[in-house]
């Protein structure tokens, strides 16, 4: 009986968790509830959220993308280096680059049968190395005037609302549409929930899987672009420490590693949970260097809690 209730409650856990955490943190420090602090908190989480959005699609089909952080690192360097020559075209260029590298991961996974955790790890290694090579292992900086002229709109505030939030909202809307209203979204759901049935329905499963990885790569690149604009430059290590919380955001949001359920709206809730946990750690004066310990532990708990054991025969 109790087990049944938990099953029924499961889809609601993410937002219950979010509300509970907000209450706890605001009890620790009531200033947390001030609109201005909440808005900047949300604004700060946006690059991570964009990265998590992409990873959502890959986890949704039962895979994993470990390349997102390195991809973002590489893009900060690429965007900075290319800005002078490409101008505004740097944005589509880096996003395309991300999509292509993501598609490579997908190709390795579906056609060469390399498990996604290895193929994305390898592609991530390549991206990281490209970043180091192009930057000469130093941080590079953008021409401030050119940055402000072309991409300044990304980081301002209107009525006190950080522009990043508008970008996040727009991307979320597009992804929700993609997930719920398009052949791509429906097919990815079928692959996540029952891949053999998708194959037996005559669907070219490999093609759609590659698309999911490409989408993840493109969104990781967007996150990287936003980073470089915010920092007015790039370095092969600026996004380090983002992969773990991004995966945590997807999983605590309610998209389990086994795929098939959850989705991008869940990831939004997950990203907010990560933001609140970060703020809470700040108030409890947990140092930045220790934060990954917490996220590592949360990740393990989230997986243990959300995974659909009926789908797994053995875990290796």
């Amino acid at each position: 009986m109790a087990a049944m209730n938990i099953e029924r409650l499961k889809p609601h856990f993410p937002w219950i968790t979010l509300v509970t955490l907000v209450v706890i943190v605001s009890l620790i420090d009531p200033t947390f509830l001030r609109p201005s602090s909440m808005l900047s908190l949300a604004g700060d989480i946006v690059p991570l959220f964009i990265m998590a959005l992409g990873i959502t699609f890959v986890i949704y089909i039962g895979g994993i993308d470990l390349s997102a952080q390195s991809m973002a690192n590489m893009v900060t360097v690429l965007a900075t280096v290319w800005l002078t020559s490409l101008g505004a075209w740097v944005a589509p260029a880096v996003v395309l680059m991300g999509a292509i590298l993501g598609a490579f991961s997908g190709y390795f996974t579906t056609r060469l049968f390399v498990p996604s955790f290895i193929s994305t790890l390898a592609v991530g290694g390549v991206a990281f190395s490209v970043a180091k090579w192009l930057s000469g292992q130093k941080s590079v900086s953008m021409d401030a005037a050119q940055r402000d002229h072309l991409f300044g709109w990304m980081i301002g505030r209107t009525f006190g609302i950080p522009h990043e939030l508008f970008i996040a909202a727009a991307l979320l809307l597009i992804m929700v549409f993609l997930e719920r209203r398009t052949i791509l979204g429906r097919t990815l759901k079928a692959i996540g929930a029952g891949e053999p049935a998708a194959v037996a329905s005559g669907i070219n499963v490999a093609r759609y899987k590659i698309a999911a990885f490409a989408l993840s790569g493109a969104l990781a690149a967007m996150a990287g672009l936003l980073f470089s604009v915010k920092l007015s430059g790039g370095a092969p290590s600026v996004a380090n420490g983002f992969l773990l919380p991004a995966i945590v955001a997807v999983l605590v949001g309610g998209t389990p590693l086994t795929g098939g359920v959850g989705g991008v709206v869940n990831t939004m809730i997950g990203a907010l949970i990560v933001a609140v946990i970060r703020a809470g750690m700040l108030y409890l004066s947990i140092q930045a260097t220790q934060q990954q310990i917490v996220f590592g532990l949360i990740l393990i708990c989230a997986i243990a809690f959300t995974i659909d054991r009926a789908k797994l025969k053995t875990v290796k």
């Binding site: 079928a190 929930a193 053999p196 005559g202």
Partner: protein, 501 residues
Amino acid sequence: MYEMQKVDKKFPGVHALKTVDFNIKRGEIVGLVGENGAGKSTLMKIIYGAYQPDSGKILLNGNEVNFANPREALASGIGMVFQEQSLIPSLTIMENIFLGYEGQFVHFGMINWKAMATAARVQLAKVKLDLDPATITSKLSFAQRQLVELAKVLTLEERVKGDLVILLDEPTSVLAEEEVELLFKLIRELTTRASFIFVSHRIDEVMTISDRIYVLKDGNVVDVVVKGQSSIEAIQHKMVGRNVDKEYYREHRQKPFDESKVLFELSEVSLPGRVKNASLKLHSGEVLCLVGAEGSGREAIVRALYGMVTPTSGQLSIKGAAMEQASPRAAVERGVGYVPRERKIEGIVSGMNVYENLTLSQLGKYSTRGVLKIAQEKALARDWISKLSIKASSENADCGNLSGGNQQKVVLAKWRSGGSDIMLLDHPTRGLDIGAKEDVYEMIRDMCEAGVGILLVADTFEEAIGLSHTIAVIKDGQIQKQFDTKQGAKPTPFDLLHHMI
């Protein structure tokens, strides 16, 4: 010897067992029949300790017992031979037999393999298997594995003092007819050592082997039949609660097919694996049934038609056009629909609702430039839910929660709504209860009337004979003989068997 008194078990929303009394005597074989959901598996799980009853008593030789888990039941001599084969394929026979009980062969931390092999031979002799205990299990046939499972359970004899109760869950589902005979002979001989509980969908088999049969319906024992005192029809009537149509396979609705319209043709097709030079034709309105043992090549032919296997030689053409590049996509585009054997894995996507499942094979048709027309999808689903009387709360119901029969209807509707007119049905009634089977037979006749051609791999000989217009018997990848099975001129199972082995 073993007795259940007023055992009751409830699950959320389901009263699975309603004060059930059950007993088994020493050396007796007791059959257990009932439709899906009648409570068979709950009853079995309570017997071997996987579930605990909510109320009621379990007595073993008059003493009350409570099993917290299957291992405790095993220690009291109650063992289970699983339907899903529980042997680990990469281990040797003896390792499987003594899995979890290796301690007896360990000296100074090392396993004495010789002693284990000798002990395993003793167990194998009980089931009349003359195999080297060091053989890797994956090399065995299904029938041999089934016997090894039995041998594994029979190790209880040495471990437990007193009587044994052995549960056999659908032990014949993977066996060919003659293997079933052997198994039954063996079970009868083993009654000197143990009592058996035999569970099967095949009522004729249960009647052959059992001394008494418990008939379950909706969690109640509706009757206990003593051997030879009832007929299959009477038992079916009790299971279903109504008369089963005499025209079970709807033979009165079998119409001659249209010989002028060929839907697919195989000429001298060889496939990777066993199939050699197979030639077949399917016509509009025809049910063509492939009959053969597991692994004879019937599945390979079905898979080739669905584009999952490319012929190594010969020609496969669909509606007059030769298939060059084999792929499921190409097959679906030419009107082929595939109802796979593994309904829950390959048939439906559980976690997706009825309309999402229905359009999965035809998303292009329900979208413009990649954007779905969900309203149209829903309308289509509502239409087919009423057409096939699918029992689902709405088109938004999760297919994973539908019963087996209704899931199968969704799979059939998926292809029919997309206009598929070549249907490949691989064991379409496997695991369905009688009512749902009849629905499927009815649908097969409906499809034939609509001009659909059906390639069928049936669950039983009777089903194959009853439903088909034509039967092709396959053995070792060769089509041995084709039978014309017109209404009123059907061959007998014996006629077919003759060409199978």
